[in-house]
């Protein structure tokens, strides 16, 4: 059974068709990468899956159920968490608080019991804290636990955002350019983490990435996009030797694909 399924999805903004009849399936337990030049529609696909926009045609199914009837805030409840290309953290909160906010879908207490701070709330807080601490341990965020996001360097913020998505405990993790702006060493870390996220935590990963090195290292299958259309799908090696893909990249004067 497939986890996420895009069926002939089309998205147009005014006259521009950002995604044009794209279909693909993400299987449970795999790392699936979307690659393609800027403006190929990768981020739009992410925003469609997060329900920030509604496709003009086609259907998106998660665990065989269409998610087009869901509001954006229902998506994490289904088990889909995401990160953002340009980092969208809660800047005036600490790292720990950011991770705890990530636990929102696991909240069981209601507003009134929280205002009174009934014993149940405290027990639940301990559980949230334990989950957050597990993420902190996994991502080596201990030194930054109590720091405000505002004061953290870019690389750490990127990790915190990954942590926040993991705190949701999703089935599917959407990573929007997890390595953009990171140094070579930090990118290596990301590669190991993605590996662990899949193997140890059993979370399926769908990612958009420009760094072909990272894509090669971690992904099982790759979908190459250009101008909103799917060009080819296959293993990283297959994609990089695919003549259509090479054509699309070289046509843009970009030799990333030939690396």
């Amino acid at each position: 059974m497939s986890l996420l399924e895009l069926d002939d999805v089309t998205m147009s903004f005014g006259g521009l068709t950002a995604v044009d009849g794209v279909s693909f399936v993400v299987n449970p337990g795999e790392v699936f990468a979307l690659v393609g030049p800027n403006g190929a529609g990768k981020s739009t696909i992410f925003n469609l899956v997060s329900r920030y926009c509604t496709p003009s045609g086609g259907d998106i199914r998660f665990e065989s159920k269409s998610i087009l009837g869901c509001a954006p805030h229902d998506i994490p409840r289904l088990g889909i968490a995401r990160t953002f290309q340009n980092i969208e953290l809660f800047e005036h909160a600490t790292v720990l608080q950011n991770l705890l906010i990530g636990r929102h879908t696991h909240r069981r207490s209601n507003a009134i019991s929280e205002i009174l701070h009934l014993p149940g709330v405290r027990a639940e807080e301990r559980r949230h804290r334990l989950a957050a601490e597990r993420v902190i341990d996994f991502l080596d965020l201990q030194p930054h636990r109590e720091s405000l996001i505002l004061g953290l360097p870019y690389g750490v913020r990127k990790v915190v955002e990954l942590g926040r998505a993991l705190a949701v405990e999703p089935k599917l993790l959407l990573l929007d350019e997890p390595a953009s702006g990171l140094s070579a060493e930090e990118t290596d870390d990301v590669a190991f983490w993605i590996e662990d996220i899949r193997k140890v935590m059993g979370i399926t990963v769908l990612m958009v990435e420009h760094d072909m090195g990272l894509v090669n290292a971690v992904s099982d299958r790759v979908l190459a996009l250009a101008d909103g259309r799917a060009l080819a799908i296959g293993t990283p090696q297959e994609i990089q030797t695919d003549p259509v893909v090479i054509e699309a990249y070289i046509g843009l004067g970009d030799d990333e694909a030939g690396e």
Binding site: D74, L89, E114, I115, A165
Partner: protein
């Protein structure tokens, strides 16, 4: 520098960061409770007023400081609280202990009702919408004259709990203790909100609506809840204000009250409970101080003829400007800086608190 040695998650879940802090707050509370024994009735009244301001300020702080939803209309919710409280007592004969929480609920309901249609508004547009609400409420009070007494106003009956009267003039300490009790309860509730998932979801909505949604926060619902809580607290303050004033009409709850509330929390320091109290101290005692200085000058130098009318407001304005220019983080922000300076003495660097320069970037196309 104090080193906190935390050995359980509960250490972070408590009301206080550490035992010394708890000690200081209990000392403060004891001092506050003992005030009526060292002050005369006039000053106790002023401190009670300060507490009422602080309660209203906490209501607004929850909305502006923690949920990031600016409101220039909180006078309207104070009015809802004040009128509901008095009308329930006068026409239904309910006792204060019943009408007071109901007044808070009524204000909360009004706030939630406002939040639903305005959920899509951001920042300054929301401020303007609430400003309009404040102006509409002022006229609404006049229009609903059969219930509200309109222009001629309405009398607040004396508070009686278990046969004890809490009239502000007859039993000033009693009224003060009552206000203090409410303030303490509100602070406790506020603290509980901040350390629970609800408080975190408010912060999430404040800092990034997009990623708040991405982790499952329902924006419209969270905004409605924050409006309800905020307006409810402010409504409680309004009810107390009604009893404090004794008689009030539409002019008690003008747009200026809304603006004053906002000024108060900005001066106090946005985003902290302390800020509401510090701001309330400034708002209550600054005009008092100005008039004392003025009287002193008049007596000493005979300047009564020279001082033009309205100079109090101007002085108030000038001091506010100075506050905002000199300490953008509010009084509480300054306090934190001072405390850190002494905690780290002599290792505090000047640029430790330098703000990161923020540059303007808008989503406007035209």
């Amino acid at each position: 520098m104090r080193i906190l040695f935390k050995t359980s998650y509960d250490a972070d879940l408590g009301l206080f960061a550490h035992r010394y802090q708890a000690f200081w707050y209990f000392l403060l509370l004891a001092g506050a409770a003992g005030l009526p024994f060292v002050m005369n009735d006039f000053w106790i009244g002023e401190v009670a007023l300060m507490l009422i301001w602080a309660i209203a300020g906490m209501g607004l702080m929850l909305l502006v400081g923690h949920s990031g939803q600016p409101s220039l209309g909180h006078a309207a919710f104070m009015a809802v609280g004040a009128y509901t409280n008095v009308i329930l007592q006068a026409s239904l004969g309910l006792p204060f202990v019943v009408s007071f929480p109901l007044a808070g609920c009524a204000a909360a309901l009004a706030g939630a009702l406002l939040a639903l249609p305005t959920a899509r508004l951001h920042g300054i547009y929301l401020a303007i919408a609430t400003l309009a609400v404040s102006i509409l409420a002022e006229d609404g009070i006049v229009m609903l004259a059969p219930w509200t007494g309109g222009v001629s106003g309405i009398f607040a009956p004396d508070i009686k709990i278990l046969g004890v009267g809490f009239n502000r003039y007859v039993n000033a300490p009693g009224f003060y203790w009552l206000t203090l009790g409410v303030a303490v309860l509100v602070v406790l509730g506020y603290r509980n909100i901040l350390r629970s998932p609800l408080g975190r979801s408010l912060v999430a909505v404040r800092d990034s609506e997009i990623s708040a949604q991405a982790i499952g926060v329902n924006l419209a619902r969270t905004k409605a809840i924050s409006f309800a809580l905020s307006c409810g607290i402010t409504g409680l303050a309004g009810a107390l204000m009604g009893h404090f004033a004794g008689v009030f009409n539409h002019e008690t709850f003008t747009i200026f009250l809304s603006i004053t509330l906002l000024m108060m929390i900005v001066i106090g320091g946005l985003g902290s409970i302390h800020g509401a109290f510090l701001g309330a101290i400034v708002i209550t005692f600054l005009p008092l101080a100005i008039s004392i200085v003025r009287e002193f000058l008049n007596e000493r130098f005979g300047t009564a003829s020279v001082m033009p009318p309205g100079i109090e407001t101007a002085a108030f304005g000038a001091i506010l400007i100075a506050f905002i220019l000199l300490e953008p983080m509010g009084i509480y922000g300054r306090w934190i800086k001072i405390r850190t300076y002494f905690e780290l003495f002599p290792f505090c660097r000047r640029d430790m608190f330098r703000r990161q320069r923020a540059y303007l970037k808008t989503g406007r196309i035209r």
